[in-house]
Point group: C2
């Protein structure tokens, strides 16, 4: 069973523009703005609720990131995915496979925050769901 919400990811066209709302108006201070070349994104991490809290991630895809650019074209900016932390990603993946869930990864991938798998929205009532072991 997942332990907690790790982050909620919001896809935006431009990080600096998004920060004028999330940082300047709402008052959530980013701890880090990170370029992740392997994922063709820039991410601003906005922690809420202290060290054990969850965070908002603002994600700006590079122009070369075809799948996220397609998402932006089709759906616009907004909520993109939900990430839940699990203790044991290999066990969680095996359990989901045993139950016949539509996992998008046959093995955990290396994400910005740890090892992760994604579930297809058709299996999760429309939510792109990430499970993450930190």
């Amino acid at each position: 069973m997942p332990r907690r919400i790790d982050h909620v990811a919001i896809i935006v066209r431009n990080l600096e523009d998004a920060l004028t709302f999330y940082r300047d108006t709402l008052g959530v201070v980013p701890t880090e703005i990170k370029e992740v070349p392997t994922e063709q994104v820039r991410i601003a991490f906005l922690p809420l609720g202290g060290p054990a809290g969850s965070q908002i991630e603002l994600i700006e895809p590079t122009l070369a990131n075809a799948s996220l650019q397609k998402f932006l074209e089709r759906r616009g900016e907004g909520l993109h995915h939900l990430c839940l932390e699990v203790e044991d990603i290999d066990g969680a993946l095996q359990d989901l496979k045993d139950k016949g869930a539509a996992v998008l990864d046959q093995q955990p991938r290396v994400a910005a925050e740890g090892r992760a798998i994604f579930l297809h929205p058709k299996a999760t009532n429309g939510v792109l769901l990430e499970l993450l072991q930190k």
Copy 2:
């Protein structure tokens, strides 16, 4: 500044169907399934991370709920809104108004969990954002 993520709301057509994934496959046990006639919805509350944690809310609109039915038609099931807890909703509302943010409520409304305001997605990079004082 918001203290924590209170909940992430997922809109679904049918709660029982959604629980076959979130409860039976993923293993998150709902604490309560509640009918909220004033909001024309049924909500399943799925807590994560203990008493101080955040939760997933699965929301099934009744057929009479025109605005959520329209959302389902247009976007399908999936992530619907993000709710952040604040200490003082009146102060937060005044602060947002002073900063010219597009608030949808001129006064806090009574929500299922406390007093709340919503911000328009055009002000928040596409996210329907709720601020809540419990």
